[in-house]
Symmetry: C2
Subunit: 334 residues, 2 copies
């Protein structure tokens, strides 16, 4: 005998069980639970008591199936090991939860198209920070709207919250100039531009445009170690540099550490600036000056796009766009 005696089948408590126990119909139970009208207070109380006694809890799948709505959005980022993404996720969860949406998270480690595909089958929308070209992963969504972070939407059904790096970086550079910066340099991220052979990341391009003159740039892996190495290389290439912008805070923190081990004073001898605005930037000495990407605002804007998307019945065919301008966050390193 392979299977033992029929042990208690773990049958779920359904709305019918509650209805039977309370001596009412299913619909009445629904009315009680969902606080709908057309039910007497007395009956509602009795039903709710039964619900409590039986430990009934509604099945989300049945609800979504019959209501034809999911109220879940998927968030896809590269990794939470970069605190910026984590902070972004934090802001999203807070923002969306306050609007009574659920957030499913996934990481694109095994390919962005895969992540999108698996999200698309269970969410109403996908928010994400992607590296691959849009044509790679957008079709995988099969019609589920996508909100791109920090990138520009170029396909139908794709929306975006863009970052105005042009303004942000140029403001930052101007302020640095006012503080005395003359020779600028940058540590760019090699992973930031897998899309083609363009001259570096957009951040780099806007930086070069803002600086106006020649400025040296090195490219390193997007990590703390990359920042350490990048700073060293930069100083080798030109010992006269007095200001270094890093692709992100992680790399900037590496740069600060590199400066420390080289005995280079920050910000006395060299100013170091990051991009992101992670709170961890306060954990180092000197604390990190950075171009804050305003995760709260980005999250709120993305949420407002979602709200607009699902408000009108006829799904807007036009791409919805919001723009957030990064703001310098002055701490000690610059």
């Amino acid at each position: 005998m392979t299977t033992g005696a029929p042990s208690t089948p773990p049958t779920r408590v359904t709305i019918r069980d509650v209805a039977r126990a309370a001596g009412v119909s299913r619909q009445t139970v629904t009315r009680a639970i969902n606080e709908m009208p057309e039910i007497s207070e007395e009956t509602r109380a009795r039903v709710m008591r039964t619900v409590e006694e039986l430990g009934y809890r509604p099945n989300r799948f049945a609800i979504d199936l019959s209501r034809q709505r999911t109220h879940a959005v998927g968030l896809i980022v590269g990794t939470f090991r970069n605190p910026y993404y984590a902070q972004l996720a934090d802001a999203f969860v807070a923002e969306l939860r306050s609007r009574d949406w659920q957030v499913l998270v996934s990481m694109a480690s095994q390919g962005e198209a895969d992540a999108v595909r698996s999200m698309a089958s269970q969410t109403d929308a996908i928010i994400g920070y992607f590296l691959e070209p849009q044509t790679n992963f957008v079709p995988a969504a099969r019609g589920v709207p996508i909100v791109l972070l920090e990138d520009q939407a170029t396909m139908p059904g794709v929306h975006s919250v863009e970052l105005d790096f042009r303004t942000g970086i140029s403001d930052m550079v101007a302020a640095l100039r006012a503080k005395g910066s003359r020779r600028f340099a940058m540590i760019d991220a090699s992973s930031a531009n897998p899309k083609g052979t363009a001259p570096g990341s957009p951040r780099r391009q806007f930086f070069e445009a803002a600086v106006g003159e020649e400025c040296i740039v090195v490219t390193e892996p997007e990590s703390i170690a990359g920042g350490v190495d990048g700073f060293r290389r930069l100083l080798d290439l030109d010992p006269e540099i007095d200001t270094v912008l890093a692709f992100n805070d992680l790399m900037a923190m590496g740069a600060v550490q590199g400066a420390h081990t080289l005995g280079v004073d920050v910000p006395g001898r060299v100013r170091i600036v990051g991009i992101d605005g992670i709170s961890l930037g306060e954990a180092i000495s000197p604390t990190l000056t950075t171009l804050s990407l305003e995760t709260q605002t980005v999250a709120a804007q993305a949420a407002s796009i979602l709200a607009e998307l699902f408000a009108g019945e006829p799904m807007p065919s036009r791409s919805l766009t919001r723009t957030v301008t990064p703001v310098p966050l002055w701490r000690e390193s610059a």
Copy 2:
């Protein structure tokens, strides 16, 4: 007229549409899609082609509803702003996604019971790191199993992945002694023990037990600033201390920063050790020595509990427990 002309209703492509278009029955479509037997290769190909043409994608909710299983677990943490939680989430998403489970995340900012309640209605299980006493939030789960992180399960239906701080901390202290540490001190977290008036966090208790003799402890808020202040206070209280353990890496990084601004050499004059093992510990100078909480292992163990929970039909009534032993991660600060 309030509603305009009936625009194209966004009707979803269902399995019936595919069946009709391919000239077969629903069941045959199912067979084709799910790679079931009892279907000819020819028919399967034709159906799949139709699926492609119509852009059909199966509805996860209908599937889960009829198959009677969910595939979703909820993860609840305090905030992703603490990189440790973010790293934990990262490990979980990776681990659970590889097992084809979906991860819903939520934060307990608006009360742990609330977070649990909203999770419970849509997941098969809840994994979380909680601060309140279990009696506060466990009932809100309404029978959905909970896996506690770092805490001991004391209620039925609650399971746990515990951390053997006794061993981990005592190993760490022993190793520090071998390196010459004599006067130990600790910066505890005030938020870590809201449950009662016990003498500090478990980490502190095991630390005091391991040190064996009197050692001074200050309590600070769980933040970078708390670490800075804590270090300062500690040095005020006893200038002779040579080793400081912080409640977590965030506070330890603050302590390192505090030492830096006070001109105290780390680790030459004072060794500083954190608890968590976040990768950001590498971003500071000196890099942070810490007791690693092994997020990967914790995630894997929690997943194995879930697997066990849902493998056997009769849900085990006993609490399932795994234990992970933290391991010292030697970097530069100690």
